[in-house]
């Protein structure tokens, strides 16, 4: 890729961080070019090929073991009642019963759960991108006095586990003044419990998104901002129209991670909602399991519905996900 300027374009910066990228052929090119000076005789080359093959077989076996649980989930979800009743059903179902998904939805409204989770995911994405990008840009490019302090604060909040704040957060939601029948002191009603507020507001933005977006803005050329200022553009327009288009990969990464956070969230929605119409997919799945313990085909159909969207998104946008995950460490 051509990099005449000394500021590499964003695409390149992110590429170097992306080990899980199927489209990233640069890695393969480096690896596959065998060194010219290594003159090898035929037997050595053959030995190499054999060890390569062994390696490939081992990797294929481990990868298969990693996806085996997912296959088992899916095959159970589409199995016939007949096969499920057998003591030793075949691994691959003999007939495929996709109507099991409809039966699962009849047993529990998974489509409503999925819709709720989807709404939370999408709202998370937009609020996180708006507030995360604005804060990330300000911290990266606007040299104001408090910036290092605010950045330090965001870094500090990243170190605080959710389990250290969950009880006061729950009480804040429960006693939210003037909502859900509460008076100005937060008494008398149920506050934000069983409301969209409780599901949406606490997840609006997170320090990690700010941190990640700031890193993307840091790599953008500051000269562009100065040039835009000379041209008389307002600060918000410089941020939105000049700088933000340069960090599109960052927006995509943070957006995907926010959606994942919303879709996969379990404990918080479990705590703040009782109403079935507000139930999210992960809570719905958990409750369905408690209520129908032995219907494995329906439970696995529900599990497939809960797992599949993220797997599909991951396969499509793998490199952006990987970029974010490698930066965040462990979830």
């Amino acid at each position: 890729m051509a990099n005449e300027t000394n500021t590499p374009d964003i695409e390149d910066v992110t590429r170097t961080h992306v080990p899980g990228d199927p489209a990233d052929d640069s890695i393969q090119q480096v690896r596959s070019s065998t060194p010219d000076h290594a003159v090898k005789d035929v037997s050595q080359r053959r030995r190499r090929r054999i060890s390569r093959t062994i390696l490939w077989v081992i990797l294929a076996a481990i990868s298969a073991a990693m996806v085996l649980p997912f296959l088992w989930m899916f095959f159970t979800a589409v199995r016939s009642q007949d096969e499920l009743g057998q003591p030793n059903p075949p691994f691959f179902p003999r007939s495929w019963h996709f109507e099991n998904f409809g039966r699962a939805i009849d047993a529990a409204p998974f489509h409503i759960y999925a819709r709720n989770s989807f709404i939370i995911g999408i709202v998370n994405v937009f609020t996180t991108l708006l507030f995360g990008a604005s804060a990330g840009y300000a911290l990266a490019k606007l040299r104001f006095k408090a910036a290092p302090w605010i950045f330090g604060w965001f870094l500090a909040t990243m170190m605080i586990p959710f389990y250290a704040t969950v009880i006061p957060s729950f009480l804040l939601v429960r006693f939210m003044p003037l909502f859900g029948g509460n008076d100005i002191f937060g008494q008398g009603g149920q506050g934000w419990i069983d409301s969209w507020w409780a599901l949406l507001v606490p997840g609006m933005v997170g320090a990690f998104s700010i941190f990640l977006l700031r890193q993307f803005y840091v790599t953008t050329p500051t000269e562009l901002i100065e040039a835009a200022r000379i041209d008389g553009l307002s600060e918000p327009r410089i941020w939105l129209e000049i700088m933000t288009p340069l960090v599109k990969p960052g927006l995509l990464t943070v957006g995907l991670l926010s959606f994942e956070g919303g879709w996969n969230n379990f404990l918080w929605p479990l705590l703040v909602t009782r109403d079935e119409s507000l139930r999210v997919i992960q809570v719905g799945l958990s409750v369905f399991r408690q209520e129908s313990n032995t219907q494995w085909d329906l439970l696995m159909a529900g599990t497939t519905l809960s797992a599949l969207p993220m797997i599909v998104l991951f396969i499509i946008f793998q490199r952006y996900f990987v970029n974010g995950f490698v930066n965040s460490g462990i979830k």
Partner: protein, 283 residues
């Protein structure tokens, strides 16, 4: 000032939903509070009670066992996979995708899948596979001896992908010339692995180790959906005890005391990792 204006929404949000709750939690841990009646200051009574709480210590012990056995095994497999995948192989991106899939899947879904795999008797896949070699059937999740190892196996399986990715990212920075020089000196694959790869990946290994421990201490969704901490508290962990105390027994003060201890443990680990990894954060 635009700097302030652009950071203000996020600043207010984190102050309300992270800053204030932490401060409130610390104060609440010195009170008796059941949500209905106003909180009552009780000195360090919650902490004194915690010291003598057998279940709390068991939960902490289970966290330590999960870290001690689960994390190193998962890390070793991840390292070997990363080294193997760091060369041109047919289908390598598919291997990466397959190995990483458990990480993007919701832990609730993961728990359901393994609940079915661990199902008692022959319908359970685990028992079926072991029956081929003449073992079992086992009661994986209802036996006090097997439940914790069964949970740890799931955490290993789920944790391999992200560790492998961090190792892969670190391997990108390892110069190819080192290996070529070693080959000229006649080093074999095993020697290259232990003499070059392992030492060079030491910072990455430390980063993976600390973040894995931090992640492991926050295991909740899996325990809640797979075992409910049982049988007979055999798989309970700190986060699950916090949940039980706060949202089943409504002992908010007692639960926050546990969460403060968890906070301190994780804070020490995080600061330790920041200090040693240094450069990657903050710049």
């Amino acid at each position: 000032m635009w700097g302030w204006l652009l950071t203000l929404p996020a600043l207010i949000h984190t102050l309300i939903w992270v800053g204030a709750p932490v401060v409130v939690a610390i104060f609440m841990s010195f009170t008796d509070y059941d949500v209905v009646n106003p909180p009552e200051f009780n000195g360090g009574a919650n902490y004194t009670e915690l010291m003598g709480d057998q279940v709390f210590w068991r939960a902490l012990w289970h966290n330590l066992i999960m870290v001690t056995f689960g994390v190193p095994i998962s890390m070793f497999i991840a390292l070997v996979l990363a080294v193997a995948l760091n060369q041109a192989l047919r289908g390598q991106s598919w291997f990466r995708t397959m190995i990483f899939m458990p990480h993007v899947t919701a832990t609730v879904a993961i728990a359901m899948i393994w609940l079915w795999i661990y199902a008692p008797g022959t319908p359970g896949l685990a028992n079926r596979i072991l029956s081929f070699v003449g073992l079992g059937p086992f009661n994986w999740l209802t036996s006090t001896d097997l439940a914790l190892p069964a949970v740890i196996l799931v955490t290993i399986w789920q944790g391999i992908g992200i560790k492998m990715l961090i190792y892969l990212a670190a391997l990108q920075g390892v110069s190819h010339e080192l290996y070529e020089a070693a080959e000229v000196d006649g080093a074999n694959t095993i020697q290259k692995f232990f003499q070059i790869t392992v030492p060079l990946l030491r910072p990455a290994t430390f980063f993976v180790l600390v973040t894995s421990i931090i992640g492991n201490f926050q295991t909740f969704d899996l325990i809640f959906n797979l075992t409910n901490g049982g049988p007979a508290n055999a798989t309970t962990v700190i986060t699950y005890q916090i949940y039980v105390a706060a949202f089943q027994q409504f002992r908010m003060g007692y639960a926050t005391a546990m969460s403060v201890i968890l906070l301190l443990v994780l804070l020490v680990l995080t600061l330790l990792s920041r200090k040693i990894v240094g450069g990657t954060d903050g710049e």
